[in-house]
């Protein structure tokens, strides 16, 4: 295990040191995640805290949101697993990223966090919140975010898994951060569409993960069942092209 650890720490060190290395070209990835089963109805949250305020927003369990119209799965996370990937100049490191406690939920529900950017934890609600961030390699935090205030937070290490954030005061509040040392993280929109732009051309390994599914280890692609070991798939991005995988169906049986 020492060997493994040494390797990892070397890798992590390299990851931290990685900088925008010139790539030979840039392409895009597009994919739409579709639910392979009956559209689940998200459970209503039993709001039992700050009922007067939180109770009026019709909160639902956001663990698995499937579009009734087109069965698109929201909030599926896709990211590049490779280390030392070149970063396209269009990505600006100075931009802060905002996670807002608003209407007694985290907005957005899933937030990519590029380690070069600063995370702003905000509370737009008139009630107090706290944000418990259970990071794995970075120090976990759990500060109170008083109503109307903002707290700055930075991360230095890539997290090996999506990081859960929660509020102890409002136990239903859950969200996710995807803390990576590159900006190539896509989150599915309400139609299940994920788009990652300006990816360095070449073969890269992409990770597919969803909150209730975990690793998307099995999908249907063009009518055929394909196994993605641990939700990973190697794709080749062509210079100047958009690789569109089309509709990728996630079987309902994967939902925990």
């Amino acid at each position: 295990m020492k060997r493994i650890n040494s390797t990892l720490s070397v890798v992590l060190t390299l990851m931290l040191m990685s900088s925008a290395v010139a790539a030979e070209g840039w392409g895009n990835l597009k994919v739409r995640l579709v639910f392979g089963g009956d559209v689940p109805v998200p459970a209503k949250i039993n709001v039992n805290k700050d009922i007067n305020f939180c109770g009026k927003h019709g909160l639902i369990d956001e663990g698995l949101l499937v579009n009734k119209e087109n069965k698109g799965i929201a909030n599926v996370i896709v990211y590049v697993r490779d280390k030392d990937v070149s970063v396209h100049p269009s990505y600006v490191a100075d931009d802060p990223i905002l996670v807002d406690n608003t209407k007694c939920r985290f907005s957005p529900h899933v937030t990519p966090v590029w380690t070069k950017r600063t995370l702003m934890l905000k509370n737009s609600d008139p009630v107090g919140h706290n944000v418990k961030v259970d990071t794995f390699l970075n120090p976990p935090i759990n500060p109170v975010i008083p109503s109307g205030s903002v707290l700055k937070q930075t991360y230095t290490k890539t997290e090996p898994l999506p990081t859960k954030i929660s509020c102890s005061i409002h136990p239903w509040m859950t969200g996710w951060l995807v803390i990576r040392d590159n900006p190539y993280v896509g989150v599915a929109d309400k139609d299940g569409v994920v788009e990652i732009k300006n990816i360095p051309a070449g073969e890269l390994e992409f990770q597919f993960w969803q909150e209730k599914v975990g690793y998307v280890r099995e999908v249907e692609l063009e009518g055929k069942t394909v196994l993605w070991n641990r939700g990973r798939v190697k794709l080749t991005i062509e210079d100047g092209e958009t690789l569109d995988l089309g509709d990728v169906t996630v079987p309902a049986k994967l939902v925990k």
Binding site: M1, K2, S6, S9, I51, G128
Partner: protein, 1607 residues
């Protein structure tokens, strides 16, 4: 008679006689010298010396490695560099300034002084010196180092010369000063004499002038002396500074060479040869004859310090010669003071990694191939071999192991059963207290399993091929040189191939070092050999120097045979203190450690010091041996013998008996009796009652029984019990009370239970009293040929049992059942959840919850019985709609017992769990029903029918008593009555009872008083038999039985049993019994061996989850001990087959004289443990100073530990977190210190600890010890596990078909601060990438069995019924809280009161702290325990008044600030706490979760936090301050957020001040909440006020504000 020359004897013959006797004398002298020369110990000592020399010689090789030689060279070079370095010009200038300007006074003095020689004769030419220094600074070409050194030596010599010159002047001045003082004294005397003699004034004046002159001289000289001395000291200092670098370099070199020099000195000291440097060596003195005089080989006498032994007629100070042969006892490994230098011999399998090396070159010229191969082995493996071992034998031995080379990194192969199977097991092991599976390779800290080859190891074989020479090993190792590596599929790391070496490690006796040098013998241990010597622990004849006379005792038959053959060993019966065999050696600890509990693992000795003794002590407590066998801790008034295990005084039972058997008791008397029943430990209550009883007896004596309140029985039998004792016993009876048994059990069940407890409950601790006489029958049938033998036991035992049942029922007292609320309906499924969650499983087992056993230590005492299949005992409950529960007595009884245990048994340790009925409400607060958890639990326990259990066949019932039984009953009556009356009278009384006028009727016989004279009924007879049988078998020793309150235990007292003379033990016909094939379990079980089978039968029909297993094994050691009439054999057989001693003896004794000892479900290990304990009960306390005397804190911890044990606090609460020892490579962890801590909340470590954490061991690994728990998974509340690629491993189901053996990481959260890899880690921080293979030792969590078991369950239920987003990582907050740091947390008074009257604190917890049947004294001990554990003051010394004054002062300052900053116009008293209260009641902070007085926040209980209004009574202020500042550094699992992060105070609108000031104000407010609220009682109104106010926004920094705006 004339004289003749004739001698009386014939001279010639005398010459012959003289000649012969001279020859005999010479021969015997020669024989004597030879015998002396051949003494065993000389050979051992000589061999030990050879071993030491050999080891020291090998260890010197460590100083010949390139690295060490390099550092030696570097040190020499560094020294050389300093020896040619030019001195600093600045220093030289300073030197010159002083040296060239000697104090002027010296010069001026010369004129007026006696010639002192040249006063200033300083040989110092600075120019010359500077030239020399210049040569050093810029050496001329061709100048050698030696030239430069010579120049520097000259420079130094010149400087030293100047210092010496100054010293000379100083000395001369001092001499002159002394002379001048003498002259001065003479002059003064002369003046004095002049005055006396009346000399004239002139003369007197002249004399005075002389005095003045001398005085002036002295003053001048003194000034000069001081000036010169000062100059000299300064010069010397400068010279020291100039030489400092070379001195430092010399010290450095000395340090590098120190170990080498020490080893060389050791070898030189030990070396013994005939020629030593051309002179005769020491070896000559070891030659025969010469060695009788001053041989280097000497007998070693270890005089113990004041320890004595009994030589029968006098006590003699002990002196032990054991180390004469056992030379290595104190030897430890170099650099490891407590690690034995030479362990006992054992074969070890070692996996040696094969490194990949380039093709090796051919040998250099002049180097042979064999030598070349050895060099290669040294280079590649870091291994040097020699063809002889430490014992001088021809073997392949390791003489050198280079650190960080393959030989040092070789891994000891784990045993097959220790291999890790899959992550599920690993995770389970991490979570559990028990189980063979551990994430570690089984205690790799022990020498035998310590990784890496060691110097002295003998390599026996390589991959199974025997190795005979170093070259053969070298050839084989060099042949295995793979040039292609395989890669790990997952990590792509190369797989390093290995070979398996079979290695013999250690030496045989007597060349073995003492184990556990941390505890014994070693200079750092509490039992140093210089104070204690050997025999005080080991026994034996310490003065002996021969093996056979030292009274060694073999530990097994094989050793015994070997010793007889090798040493002529024999059992020396004349030495009454033979050594303890190894298996019982721990018994001796009891001599000084009377209370035993101090021998549990502690902070100082984390490895259990005496596990076997502890097991024995616990077994005795678990099975209640003390109920019959008194272990009172004393033999006589002042001789301590082991622990005091006496049962507490039976006063409460006696008071209950008086209350139940007396009618018309006046209220005062009733109150006094009740007081004793409720608080038997209260001396005042007991004394008051005793006084009342005595005065009542006086009334009775004076006016007759009718005039008194109480009966004669009360006066004579029960009153003395209340007299009291200075040192009463403290243990409760091990069995349940039978005072109200009639309300609990049916007759048929009672019969079955008494006849054979294991029939119903195989795990029962109640021993078997009946059905143990088969061997008697077999004896008569097989030995005496009496096939028709009718054993009285078979006839009488059923009668005895029936009698006991009749007695218990007849005297059972009326019981007041508790009633449940009308309309509450029980529910089995609800009951099952309540049974699991409400605490029952902390003390009980149940077959439906087998997993809880995984969280219990194997040897832990599970307080309560296994509750599986209770329906079989009580009958199933009918919960159908139409059933009437009130009529089902079993329900009523169990309900009462579960709800309020003390109602049934006043002294039970079963607590009141507060299982009160409560409303069921919806989330909206609507009441939908009412449940009674106690009734639910009863329904659940009585619902179980999943068994096929039935009463044993042939059980006798009252209804089935026929003629035969009646005859047996009569026969038994006569058997008993014969003891009191003549046979004929006995027979008569057996029929008609005892006439009323019979005098001196004993208590039992009074049962038969029958004034009517008519024949006794069966019931009357049964009552008598019952009473006699209870007395005979001593049932009251364990149970509270009416009528037996004053009965004494029936067993032999065990004080001094460890010394019991075996001749006083009745071995009877044990030899015949064993040889009649009864004793050999493997051949034939004999009569009682069937108990084993019957247990097995029972297991099939009715199995509990926690078994006690009877094992009928008779190991050879004990068989020999029995046959040799050794006391250990006696106890073993007593515990194995207690009635076997009746073999061949029953024919000639009465039925009632047969043995009564019951059969306990013991295993062989249990028996050995019990024997270890009993052997330690010896009335030979060493001198007082050797008695274990704990410090005040240690005593508090030990006393508290006993209370914790008694009430099974560890059943629920974690007392110590997991403790893991890590070994890891540099860079394995990427750790960083937490930076955002307030200084008061941060733990600090000495710098030495930090640097020590960076040191590496022989495997080049760093080590650390961490305390905490694995991080729990949010989904499952089980430990998080990841594979090498951070894929979460969910056990037992895996997401992917990955290899199950790759648990790469186990995130671990620290619960205590630690230093890891040079980083100070605070509690709450994590080691996310901790791999199981980095854990080299693991101590599971101590306690919290139920809490740890409940974590996954409560999480799942919360997700199911409460909050789907519930997080397993927070589940610790819902189960009984860990008590780590409890002493530093709470105020002692509060905790004391809380223990006696617990109330709910945390709404989120699924169960309540129960109320224990605990005395105030016990609560105090617990409180002190926690405080002592955390090393905080107790009792708590918080001064409210001081605090109040400080608060007033702070309030003034706060007001002043507000006024200064124009925030208020004038001071407002109490403003500071008012403002602090604004933080509490603000919608962003405390009141979001905390209850505060009358305010209760919204939400489920899981999200509610304790009431802040009462914590001023509970918490210590320092704790509260740390808690507010950084909650998770105190409780790492807490969901409480950081409200005031460092540098980020809450809004100034709430409280005007810095972060710290705000925290301090909150602490002041909460710690003085009572004073604060004396004027403000409604918090709700304050909360509402805050709610109504506009939301308070914390001041955002410009950047933050901007960012917020942008987003």
């Amino acid at each position: 008679m004339p004289a003749t020359e004739q001698t009386l004897r014939d001279q010639k013959r005398l010459h012959v006689v003289f000649g012969i006797s001279s020859v005999i004398l010479i021969l015997s002298t020669v024989w004597m010298f030879k015998a002396d020369h051949d003494r065993q110990w000389k050979q051992y000592q000589s061999k030990a010396r050879d071993i030491n020399i050999q080891m020291s010689t090998w260890r010197q090789l460590e100083f010949e490695t390139a690295q060490v030689l390099k550092s030696e060279e570097e040190a020499v070079a560094a020294l050389d560099a300093t020896l040619v370095a030019p001195p600093s010009t600045k220093l030289l200038d300073s030197f010159n300034t002083i040296a060239s300007n000697p104090p002027l006074e010296i010069v001026s003095l010369a004129e007026n002084s006696k010639p002192l020689g040249p006063l200033v004769d300083i040989d110092f030419d600075y120019d010359v010196l500077k030239a020399q220094v210049e040569q050093l600074a810029t050496p001329v070409d061709g100048a050698s180092v030696d030239d430069l050194k010579a120049i520097r030596i000259q420079v130094i010599a010149t400087l030293a010369g100047v210092v010496k010159d100054f010293k000379d002047i100083e000395d001369r001045l001092l001499g002159e000063l002394k002379f001048t003082r003498a002259d001065y004294d003479a002059a003064r005397a002369s003046v004095g004499l002049g005055v006396r003699d009346g000399v004239d004034a002139n003369e007197l004046t002249a004399r005075q002038k002389k005095v003045d002159k001398e005085k002036a001289k002295i003053d001048g000289l003194e000034a000069n002396y001081q000036a010169v001395s000062n100059s000299r000291i300064k010069l010397k200092q400068i010279l020291g500074d100039i030489q400092s670098s070379e001195k430092d370099a010399q010290r450095e070199l000395d340090a590098v060479l120190a170990d080498k020099t020490r080893l060389q000195a050791a070898v030189s000291d030990l070396h013994s040869s005939f020629l030593d440097g051309g002179l005769p060596g020491k070896k000559w003195l070891e030659l025969p004859v010469l060695d009788a005089f001053n041989s280097p080989l000497k007998i070693e006498n270890k005089w113990s310090d004041d320890l004595e032994q009994n030589y029968n007629f006098s006590m003699v100070r002990r002196f032990d010669r054991c180390t004469t042969c056992h030379q290595m006892m104190e030897k430890s490994l170099p650099g490891e003071a407590t690690e034995p230098g030479f362990v006992s011999e054992r074969l070890v399998q070692i996996e040696l990694p094969i490194p990949l090396v380039e093709e090796t070159a051919n040998p250099e010229e002049g180097v042979g191939y064999e030598e070349h191969r050895q060099n290669l082995i040294a280079d590649i493996y870091g291994l040097r071999l020699v063809p002889n071992g430490l014992m001088g034998d021809k073997v392949v031995a390791v003489s050198f192991v280079e650190p960080n080379k393959p030989a040092a990194r070789a891994q000891v192969a784990t045993d097959a059963e220790e291999q890790l199977a899959d992550p599920g097991e690993i995770a389970g092991a991490m979570l559990k207290s028990t189980g063979s599976v551990s994430p570690v390779s089984a205690n790799s800290l022990q020498r035998h399993t310590r990784h890496g080859l060691e110097v002295g190891d003998v390599i026996v074989s390589v991959d199974g091929n025997v190795i005979e020479t170093p070259d053969a090993l070298a050839r084989r190792l060099l042949k295995i040189r793979p040039d292609v590596y395989l890669e790990d599929e997952l990590t792509f790391e190369p797989i390093v191939p290995t070979v398996t070496l079979t290695v013999k490690r250690g030496l045989s006796h007597p060349f073995v070092s003492h184990p556990r040098l941390d505890l014994y013998v070693g200079s750092l241990s509490p039992h140093t050999v210089s104070d204690f010597a050997c025999t005080i622990c080991h026994e034996g004849q310490g003065s002996a120097t021969d093996f056979e006379w030292a009274s060694h005792t073999p530990d097994d038959p094989l050793t015994r045979k070997q010793w007889i053959k090798k040493y002529g060993w024999f059992d020396n019966v004349h030495w009454i203190y033979p050594q303890h065999p190894k298996r019982f050696i721990e018994s001796t600890c009891l001599k000084c450690h009377h209370d035993v509990t101090e021998l549990a693992p502690s902070d100082r000795f984390p490895e259990a010091p005496a596990p076997q003794l502890m097991k024995g002590y616990n077994t005795i407590r678990k099975f209640g041996c003390y109920g019959c066998h008194e272990v009172n801790g004393f033999d006589g008034p002042d001789k301590r013998v082991g622990p005091d295990l006496r049962v507490e005084p039976n006063t409460f039972a006696a008071a209950q008996q008086i209350l139940a058997t007396t009618s018309g008791i006046p209220a005062e008397h009733t109150a006094a009796l009740d007081a004793v029943v409720e608080s038997p430990e209260s001396g005042a209550a007991r004394e008051k009652l005793y006084a009342l009883l005595l005065s009542d007896k006086e009334v009775s004596d004076a006016d007759g029984e009718e005039a008194s309140v109480f009966s004669e029985d009360t006066h004579s039998r029960l009153t003395p019990l209340f007299k009291g004792s200075d040192t009463p016993g403290s243990l409760r009876k091990p069995g349940p009370s039978l005072r109200y048994i009639g309300s609990k059990a049916e007759d048929a069940f009672l019969f079955d239970w008494i006849a054979k407890p294991s029939n119903f409950r195989p795990s029962s601790r109640m021993p078997q009293f009946f059905g143990l006489n088969d061997h008697i029958k077999r004896e008569h049938q097989e030995v005496h040929g009496d096939e028709a033998y009718d054993d009285p036991a078979e006839r009488y035992e059923p009668i005895e049992i029936l009698g006991i049942v009749a007695y218990l029922n007849n005297y059972s007292q009326s019981f007041d059942f508790l009633e449940w609320e009308d309309g509450v309906q029980p529910d089995v499924s609800r009951g099952k959840i309540a049974f699991e969650e409400r605490g029952c499983l902390a003390c009980h087992s149940h077959k439906d919850f087998p997993d809880v056993e995984d969280f219990r230590a194997v040897d832990s005492i599970v307080q309560g019985p296994d509750l599986s299949y209770l329906a079989a005992k009580f009958g199933t409950v009918d919960t159908s709609e139409n059933a009437t529960l009130d009529t089902q007595q079993q329900v009523k009884w169990l309900y009462t017992w579960v709800r309020e245990p003390t109602r049934y048994h006043k002294r039970t340790v079963m607590p009141n769990l507060f299982l009160n009925a409560h409303d069921v409400t919806t989330a909206e607060g609507e009441v939908t029903g009412r449940v009674d958890p106690a009734l639910d639990i009863v329904a659940y326990l009585l619902s179980d029918e999943g068994h096929n259990w039935s009463l044993a066949e042939g059980n006798l019932t009252h209804a089935a008593i026929g003629d035969a039984e009646t005859a047996n009953l009569d026969g038994l009556m006569v058997e008993h009555l014969k003891n009191a009356y003549f046979d004929s009278v006995a027979k008569e009384y057996a029929q008609t009872g005892i006439p009323a006028d019979e005098r001196s009727v004993k208590v039992a016989e009074s049962e038969l008083l029958n004034p009517s004279g008519e024949n006794l009924t069966v019931d009357q007879k049964l009552l008598y038999i019952g009473r006699k049988s209870i007395a005979k078998f001593g049932c009251y020793g364990c149970h509270d039985i009416p009528g037996f309150e004053d009965a004494k235990p029936i067993g032999t007292g065990l004080a001094d049993w460890g010394r019991k003379d075996p001749s006083k033990l009745a071995f009877e016909h044990m030899h015949e019994y064993l040889h009649g094939a009864h004793g050999h379990a493997e051949e034939d079980h004999g009569a009682e061996g069937h108990a084993d089978d019957s247990h097995a039968d029972a297991d099939e029909s009715l199995s509990g989850v926690r078994q006690n297993s009877y094992v009928n094994e008779l190991p050879g050691f004990f068989e020999e001990a029995i046959l040799g009439h050794n006391r250990t054999g006696f106890i073993y057989q007593k515990l194995r087959e207690p009635r076997s001693f009746d073999y061949h003896t029953t024919t000639n004794k009465n039925y009632n004289d047969r043995l009564r000892m019951p059969l306990f479900p013991f295993s062989t290990e249990d028996r050995e443990a019990v024997i270890t304990f009993v052997l330690g009960l010896v009335a030979e306390p060493p001198r007082e100073k050797y008695m274990y005397r704990p410090s005040e804190r240690d005593r508090a911890i030990q006393e508290g530990a006993r209370v914790i044990d008694k009430f099974n606090c560890k059943g629920c609460h974690v007392f110590e977190a997991e403790k893991w020892t890590l070994a890891f490579g540099e860079g394995d962890f990427d750790l960083s210190s937490a930076s955002d801590f307030y200084d008061f909340a941060e733990s600090h470590f000495p710098e030495a600890d930090v640097s020590a954490s960076l040191e590496t061991n022989k495997q080049s690994l760093r080590t650390a010890v961490i305390e905490g728990m694995p991080v729990l998974d949010d989904e499952t509340a089980l430990p998080q596990l990841f594979d090498a690629e951070f894929t979460p491993i969910k056990f037992p189901i895996f997401e992917d078909p990955i290899s199950p053996s790759v648990v790469a990481f186990t995130p671990f959260q620290l619960w205590r601060p630690a230093v890891v890899d040079g980083v100070v880690m605070q509690a709450g921080q994590r080691l996310p990438e901790l791999g199981p293979s980095q854990v080299v030792d693991r101590k599971p969590a101590d306690g919290g069995d139920l809490a740890r078991y409940l974590l996954p369950g409560v999480t799942a239920r919360e997700k199911q019924f409460g909050n789907p987003q519930a997080k397993g990582g927070e589940a610790w907050a819902w189960v009984p809280p860990p008590l780590i740091g409890q002493g530093a947390k709470v105020q002692t008074d509060w905790m004391h009161d809380f223990l006696l009257n617990p109330f709910p604190i945390r709404p989120a917890v699924v169960l309540r702290m129960p109320k224990f049947n605990m005395s105030p004294a016990e609560a105090t001990k617990l409180v002190n325990y926690f405080a002592a554990k955390d090393n905080v003051a107790y009792p708590y010394d918080y001064s409210k008044q001081d605090d109040v004054n400080a608060i007033t002062e702070s309030d003034d300052q706060y007001n002043a600030t507000l006024v200064t900053q124009n925030l208020i116009e004038s001071p407002i008293a109490g403003r500071r706490l008012e403002d602090a209260m604004k933080i509490v009641t603000n919608q962003n902070f405390c009141v979001k979760c905390h209850i505060v007085g009358d305010f209760v926040p919204e939400g489920s209980n899981k999200a509610k936090a304790p009431d802040l209004a009462v914590i001023y009574k509970r918490l210590r202020p320092e704790y509260l301050q740390r808690w507010i500042a950084r909650p998770n550094s105190i409780l790492p699992y807490t969901a409480m957020p950081v409200n005031i992060p460092i540098g980020k105070p809450v809004s100034q609108d709430l409280y005007h001040g810095s972060d710290r000031e705000q925290i301090n104000a909150l602490v002041d407010l909460l710690m003085n909440y009572d004073l604060y609220t004396s004027g403000n009682t409604s918090i709700t109104s304050l909360v509402e006020e805050q709610k109504a106010a506009a939301p308070v926004v914390a001041p955002a920094t410009p950047t933050e504000a901007a960012a917020g705006a942008e987003e």
